[in-house]
């Protein structure tokens, strides 16, 4: 039992020692490196899969070691948890010690002040009490105490208690920071959704299903999301001739909270760097692209029109790719199997500003100057009824392989141009409207992250600026009307420059003492 206790105590002591803390700090820095060098799931899932595919031997092993999710991996968590335990174990005794020291009187002078690295002696005129009063007066702002031992008066003074206070504040703020970050991860969520800028129905953040992608903390079950509805009236982008963007802004209407009962809409101009903050949530403009509009005229002259976002493939020129699926109007084919043989699918590229090399379409500019598409048009079963999840931006290749979907045409179309399939179906490219990528974020703890970050920095500044110093003055009557003054000083921390500082202090302390010679006493180097 005793051995167990000793073992536990020694482990604790090792864990809370500075050397261990240093090693853990290194491990923390070292452990974060793969997080910067390897693709991370949280940032780009696609790149992780690509990396694993390209490195078939090492990739799966890295994956097993959670190297693609470094900051939530078991080993990274272990490092910072140990570091914080070490921090608490190291700082708690120091906190208690500091609280005690606030009430303690400065320690008595060592017997031999001349043994201190910095000391000074002088003979001055006046009585010991009078000189003591002057010196003590000059030590205002220091914690000081005078002790009398017969004829001899000793003054002990100490300053710089704030340094340790700042130090403790810094370290405990780090702990607070970690807790606040963790709370944010537990109770927060963020979701992304594409909204087409056509004043259309927009979207409401009432449930995770309303989002295209949704990441939530463990306590979020999606039933109590703060309701925000928004619709996008217009999107403006300005570009330099080089294609570099100079401004993005979206005119939106939104309603939140009680607006939903009265159905009142509020206007807002959503910009990069100017999120909409409402009800503790934030709405961001995170990206944009184009949604082309196609109209399909079926052989029975009925038309169907769709506007759907394409995925930007080139972030500079906004050349985009995507797919669309059209169902024949109800009633044209009474037999569902027959209807499925006559569905239309479109897949291809969209360029906001057309640039052709032969028939190869690319985009020369990101603005909607001369929109054009290069598309394959298919007829057959486009997969809308299969019940299988499909990519929004590409057709299911299996349907094409199985010949359920057959290519009928490959065409380049400009806005307003159309093409006629051999069965009389007409596919027209009408043009395009911009869409925006909206992110809704909820993090109830982020204000606390900021608060702790600021107290952390304040503590750090105090602990770096304030210096811990001790001085002792011993006054011994040396004859009629003269007092021998001995001064000694100790820099308890941060002793660079302490030599000059002590000399200045000595000069200041003896400045108003009559008969004090200019400071020239032996200087120990």
């Amino acid at each position: 039992m005793r051995r167990l206790f000793a073992y536990a105590r020694n482990t604790w002591r090792t864990l809370t020692s500075m050397g261990t803390a240093l090693v853990l700090l290194f491990l923390l820095a070292l452990g974060a490196i793969p997080g910067a060098l390897l693709p991370q799931r949280s940032l780009n899932e696609f790149k992780v899969e690509q990396y694993i595919a390209e490195h078939p031997t090492i990739g799966p092993w890295l994956d097993r070691l959670q190297a693609f999710a470094v900051f939530s991996s078991f080993w990274f968590t272990a490092i910072y948890v140990l570091l914080f335990i070490s921090l608490v174990g190291c700082l708690t005794p120091r906190l208690i010690e500091h609280a005690r020291s606030l009430r303690a009187t400065p320690v008595a002078a060592p017997r031999n002040l001349s043994r201190l690295p910095k000391h000074h002696t002088a003979e001055v005129c006046g009585g010991a009490d009078a000189v003591a009063a002057v010196v003590s007066d000059h030590l205002r702002g220091w914690r000081r105490t005078a002790r009398k031992d017969g004829e001899i008066t000793e003054i002990s003074a100490e300053k710089g208690y704030l340094r340790e206070f700042g130090n403790i504040v810094f370290h405990f703020s780090l702990l607070g920071l970690l807790v606040a970050v963790a709370a944010g991860k537990l109770f927060g969520y963020e979701g992304n959704v594409i909204v087409i800028a056509d004043s259309g129905p927009g979207f409401c953040s009432a449930s995770p299903a309303a989002f295209d992608s949704f990441r939530a903390g463990n306590t979020v079950d999606g039933t109590s999301l703060y309701p925000i509805c928004l619709r996008v009236n217009d999107f403006h982008a300005h570009y330099l001739p080089s294609g570099q963007a100079t401004s993005f802004s979206a005119d939106i209407d939104y309603q939140a909270g009680s607006d939903l009962n009265t159905d009142s809409w509020r206007p807002y101009r959503l910009k990069v760097n100017e999120p909409l903050r409402v009800g503790g949530d934030r709405v961001y403009l995170q990206g944009h692209g184009y949604a082309p509009t196609f109209t399909v005229t079926f052989p029975d002259r009925q038309t169907r029109t769709q506007t759907l976002q394409f995925r930007p493939e080139d972030q500079i020129t906004l050349l985009s790719s995507g797919a669309m699926r059209f169902d024949p109007p109800g009633g044209s084919y009474p037999d569902p199997d027959e209807r499925r043989k006559n569905q239309i699918a479109i897949e291809g590229l969209f360029a906001p500003t057309e640039q052709l090399e032969g028939t190869l379409l690319s985009s020369s500019f990101p603005a909607l100057n001369n929109p054009a598409v290069a598309v394959d048009i298919y007829k057959g079963d486009n997969g809308l009824d299969t019940g299988r999840p499909q990519s929004l931006f590409s057709l299911d290749p299996k349907l094409i392989d199985q010949k359920r979907l057959t290519k009928k045409a490959r065409v380049n179309l400009r806005a307003g141009q159309e093409t006629r399939l051999d069965d009389g179906t007409v596919v027209r490219f009408d043009g395009a409207v911009p869409f925006i990528n909206v992110q809704v974020s909820h993090d109830p703890a982020q204000v606390w992250v900021l608060v702790f970050a600021l107290t952390m920095m304040a503590g750090l500044l105090v602990s770096l600026v304030v210096r811990r110093r001790r001085v002792w003055v011993r006054l011994t009557p040396a004859g009629p009307g003269t007092v021998s003054v001995e001064l000694g000083g100790l820099a308890r921390t941060d002793n660079s420059g302490w030599g000059d500082e002590f000399d200045r202090l000595t000069r200041r302390l003896l400045a108003d003492v009559p008969g004090a010679p200019a400071v020239s006493g032996e200087k120990v180097t």
């Binding site: 290194f26 974060a32 330099l240 974020s441 660079s496």
Partner: protein
């Protein structure tokens, strides 16, 4: 080139100021290096004049470094009372060194002109891409060096500050040059002047700290022993003593550490506004975190027995490497949210 948003004339003057700055700083480095390489004889002579006490501290880094806190040794040769040497005619190498120092200040002035003119030409803060950011960082480093190395006896250190600064400026001017232009929407925020300037101030001062720590390690190495022969050892002997180097490293680090910390926090506040989260382990964020942890380790090592001297200095050098890595690798090789910097 885009003429609508930019004053081309001013932008051209800014480029000329950049070139002038590099040329002047190269000349300054050559002059200072000449002084460093050829002035050993005079130094030893004057050290002998002053007496044995100084000679013992001079060049004997290992012994002095053990007694930290004795700032008084620094410059003792000129401060020791009792020895009044007649002012001799200043020797050639010293005049060369002084001229080099004057050129350094002129070079800093040109760099400042380059930065200011860029700002005027584009009517925005002149740190919106890698070229401008590196220029500002070099400027911060040079200013930090000018403050830390203002005493004449530290002049020898300038060469070692100018080497990395000139490498950075060459890379920036040769490979990362970007035409003056407005910044992309993500950078159009009042946080751009705050975050980037604070980070580059921190980085620049860390550069001086890193140089001082490298020189400290050189001084503590066998090369720094007084009985070592050879050209390199002679140059190492010309440097200020180990304790001074260590103090420069420490002082610059405790200045840059909170500055850089604030830079990262300002970045986090901006990220919350621009990217939708305050921290997302973007590669730049990650390496900033790593660098900050390394410098935190340096400060802890400084107050841990057994880690104080060489190990702490090594940590500082590693921190410097992390900063350089953050500057180049993260912006130029990996793809992250900080990759807009006008490159590629």
């Amino acid at each position: 080139m885009n003429t609508e948003h930019v004053d081309i004339g001013l932008a051209r003057f800014s480029d000329w100021a950049f070139t002038s700055s590099v040329v002047v700083l190269v000349a300054a480095m050559v002059l200072l290096a000449v002084e460093l390489a050829y002035s050993r004889g005079r130094k030893v002579e004057s050290a002998e004049l002053v007496g044995a006490a100084t000679a013992a501290t001079f060049g004997n880094g290992a012994a002095t470094a053990a007694t930290f806190g004795n700032g008084a040794t620094v410059g003792a040769d000129s401060a020791t009372p009792g020895v009044v040497a007649a002012e001799p005619k200043r020797p050639l190498d010293e005049r060369v060194g002084t001229a080099g120092l004057a050129l350094v200040y002129i070079g800093i002035g040109f760099l400042l002109a380059c930065i200011v003119l860029r700002g005027l030409a584009t009517t925005r803060v002149p740190w919106g891409n890698m070229y401008e950011f590196i220029n500002l960082t070099c400027f911060s480093g040079l200013i930090a060096a000018a403050v830390m190395l203002r005493r004449p006896q530290y002049r020898a250190l300038w060469v070692f500050v100018l080497v990395p600064v000139l490498i950075l400026l060459t890379v920036s001017g040769r490979w990362l040059y970007t035409n003056a232009a407005p910044v992309m929407p993500a950078l159009q925020s009042y946080w751009l002047p705050i975050h980037v300037s604070v980070v580059s101030l921190g980085s620049g001062v860390f550069l001086v700290a890193g140089v001082a720590s490298i020189l400290f390690l050189l001084k503590m190495s066998p090369l720094g022993r007084p009985d070592t022969e050879g050209a390199l050892a002679r140059i190492v002997a010309r440097l200020p003593d180990a304790q001074t180097l260590d103090r420069i490293a420490y002082r610059t680090t405790i200045f840059a550490f909170p500055v850089f910390g604030f830079g990262v926090i300002f970045g986090a506040i901006w990220a919350e506004e621009a990217w939708g989260r305050y921290w997302g382990w973007d590669p730049k964020e990650t390496v900033s975190f790593i660098a900050w942890v390394i410098y935190a380790a340096y400060l802890h090592a400084r107050s841990t027995a057994g880690w104080r001297d060489k190990k702490a200095a090594w940590i500082n050098v590693v921190g410097f490497v992390a900063m350089v890595f953050n500057l180049f690798f993260i912006n130029l090789v990996t793809v992250g949210l900080h990759s807009y910097a006008g490159v590629g």
